[in-house]
Amino acid sequence: MDNELARIRDEALAALDACREDADIEALRVRFLGRKGELTGVLRGIGALPAEQRRVSGETANQIKTLLEERIVALRTRWQEEQRARSLAAERIDISLPGSQWPRGSLHPLLQVLDDTIAIFTAMGFEVARGPDIEDDYHNFAALNIPADHPAREMQDTFFIAPEVVLRTHTSPVQIRVMESRQPPLQIIVPGAVYRCDDDVTHSPMFVQLEGLMVGKDICFAHLKGVLTAFVHTLFGPDTPVRFRPSYFPFTEPSAEVDMGCVICGGSGTECAVCKGSGWLEVLGSGMVHPNVFRAVGYDPEVVSGFAFGMGIDRIAMLRYGIDDIRLFYQNDLRFLRQF
């Protein structure tokens, strides 16, 4: 009996080694372990053996059975792993193939900068006010301390709709409209299109401005410097140098031009075409609201004070993106717009 079991074990292991595919294993399993299999037959015959031998042979037979079963599982597992490895090796895609993308649109670069600018001032507590593009002479000029026949009118070449009706030359008339209808304290910004009869590399007949106004009981020039410095630092980085230079605007007194260190040459100046070698770039006009402007809207300049500022968003965007021709913003060339 023991010889018989040893033979079955040897033959079964040898047959297992010879297995080449899953069907071979199945045939082997049937031959040795199946209901009519050789080992099954031996196990069935064990019952007829004397008790002592029955125990020994039974144990041996069961060990062989377990061994075979384990070997079969191991072999199958190995084969499956090999199979998986083969197919993983075979199933390769070219990851350099292009992606499939829904056509991407774009937002206009100027309006992106405007959005950012509005967000910066909104975070500082300014609220947005808007007004008409077509303005009367009073709001665009006279109320802003620019009377008729004043040389300052020449600073802004005006498009006329009628003798007393103009396309606003700045967003400042909205200051007047807001102050006419509300009482201080005020903290507003005014985004919008403005118009001047000018057309060259640095001037577009329409461009986008952002105006700001803060009026209260004790607003001073130091606050103007603080808010505008904070703005430049937020938009262009906290290390950007900022300087305030006396200038003239009819609606502010004192007035200041705000320069920032040239973002192109880093302020080193030499040979820079953008800052023309000065190391500084004009980015904003500003000043303390002129007492005549307060009087025009019925505020008492002895009681309230405030500052105002304005900037060309085009200019800010040109500096931000390194664009040298303002007209690109309004030509609407898709090859340009899709870059943003």
Binding site: F221, P246, Q331
Partner: protein, 802 residues
Amino acid sequence: MKVTLNWLREFVPIELSLDRLADRLAMAGLEVEGISEQGAESVTIAQIARIAPHPQSDHLVVCHVTTGGETMPVVCGAPNMKVGDKVALAPEGTTLPGGQQVERTEIRGQVSCGMLCSAAELGLSQDHSGLLILPTEAELGQALFSFLGLRDTILDVAITPNRGDCLSVLGLAREIAALTRVPLHAKKPQVRERGEAITEQARVGIGDPDLCPRYAARVVTGVRVAPSPTWMRWRLEAAGSRALNNLVDITNYVMLERGQPLHAFDLASLAGAEIIVRRARALTTIRTLDGQDRALAPDDLLICDRDRAVAIAGVMGGENSEVREQTTEVLLESAYFVPETVRRTARRLGLRSEASYRFERGIDPQGSVLALNRAAALIRQLAGGQVSHGVIDICPQPLMSTQIAIRAQRVTNLLGVAVEEREIAQCLRTLGMAVKRERRAAWRVTVPSYRADLTQEADLIEEIARLRGYETIPTLLPRSEVQEKNFDQEGSWSRRVRAYLAAQGLAEMLNLSFTAARFNALFPGLVPGGAPVTLMNPLSAEDAEMRRSLLSNLLRALQLSLRQGETGVTIFELGKVFWKGEGPSIIEQKQERLCLAGVLYGSWPATHLGQEGRRLDFAHLKGILEGLSQELHYQIPVRWNRAGEVVFLHPGKAAMLSVNGTILGVAGALHPTHCAELNLGEAPWVFELDFPALIRFAHPVTPYQPLPRFPVVVRDVAIVADEELPVQAIVDAVNALTNPLIVSVRLFDLYRGDPIPMRKKSLAYSIAYRAADRTLTTNEVNTLHAQVVAHLVQTLGVEIRA
């Protein structure tokens, strides 16, 4: 304002380096926009060592010249030089003041190392009869223009409109003196008078003192009109002024130096030797110095003689009284004209002169006689003649000086920095003001007559800040009080809408608000009737009107893209449109509205390898707009109604969008005639929406709906309907039942062709049923579905496909 450094130095010592000076001026509000050199050309003093005949020419010679070292040959055709003469050598590479380039050349086989120059070639005089022969003491090798004292530096200073006082050498010198705390050398010009009294020679009357508060005059007789000396012509040229003759040049020179425009009349041409300053009163014409006939308006201020106008006050002189070569007697005018009148006239005539520029900005009313004396003295010196005794100085009203009260507290409050009382007074005095203390920390300040821009306290505070430097003011953030603010609805929604459309593949555009009249006619916008808003002074006919519709410029942008070879263009713009409605005046007639428009043309690019790009069609247009109403959380569905009457849309492919009767806008295919007009091969799909109407129905959020607890049961129905029946009619009919068990109706198939009869179509809809409180039984659903189908057959007359 262009001014040279040496000219400034006649009035103020300048110790600072050029860069420091420019920086100091800029930080005081006078930006130096350019610095250039005058007389920097490398023309050198040389001596003629030998003159040899030119072998190939009778009239040329070869001069061998030296600047101290080796001699070099220069071919020369001038007749007047001899060996030993000191001459001006322009070596190769020199650009002469007139712009002529000197190169190394061969002239008829002889090498010429540069050029020997005439005075005319050097810009020194009109003399080109021969070489400029220099005095014997001229040092060999020295730069010619330095030797002649013509080497200078030109500063180009930007003067803001308020600082008319800085439009002169004296004015800038005054600023520099104040900024650098050095004294100004401003001697009062003196002139030696001889001969007759002026009152015997001329008379002056002011008819309209409201426009001309002061008119001063001097007479100089026995003058000889000739070219001005070189130094004067060079200074005028540095300032950007053209030299003419000594008399005219002197008036310009003194204007540049002192800021007072002057005019020289040929006294012999003045009828009655008389000057009357008055309004034109009637429409008349005058021929100005530039030979143009100028039509005058009744309010224009004129200078007249006994019979006629001889000058437009402050703007330009008349041809009839100008200084000519034969002129021997001149009347010099030095007046103060009211800025507004000069500006109005100059502007209307489109005639801007250096004089009008200064009068418009306000000159020093106290400077009239000083300038007159300076000019008369120069005429005596440079044009001979004698200055008649006395000055005519008509000034009907005494000139009042401006007085301003200023308080230290106000300075501190406005600037945000405490400025000491002593410093305030000192700053103002430095700027030439008389400062009188009125009470503690308060002064009364008398402003100098040349500072017409200073009229109130804030002006003086700026002067103090400017003089101290803005950098001395601290940088502080205001203490913020939290307040309730208006929320920017328009901005918030516009950002959302723009971001949505960009995500849908559309590129945002920003067009100018102008368009051509023919485009406004093609695209009259959303509001019928009304008229376009037109510009009085457009840049061109293409930009003569304000756009009534965004589509005109978007479609022009489409044309541009197509020319560049784009095959698919999907674009949008959010911007204002303009038109004129009813109203008593233009400002009340004009209307502005924010609109949202888009254009879809051609195909989407292929998104997948091996696939074709998809042609853009109505479904894309509608899908984008349906998505938009979802993006805006519309709670009420948008109606799409046929709109055959929209002129720019194909009548069969046009929709009017509305919500609860409010029109949102239109969408559809561009009309074939418009396509032809714009040279578009196929019709773009376009939309234009009224933005305020669009956001009126927008909600920040869609309210939460509880999740369904019971399953949905879907039944399909296939319908054969007339071609004319809109597919939406079926949906509307089902919804009209308002049965709470019907969840949704969805078209999922549309089929035409066999076996469906001609002019019919087959439509397949899925209808979903669900109850909120239980699972519907099959029987219930079947019964309900049968009712729905029967309803459709009954109300719409459609057939059901088996």
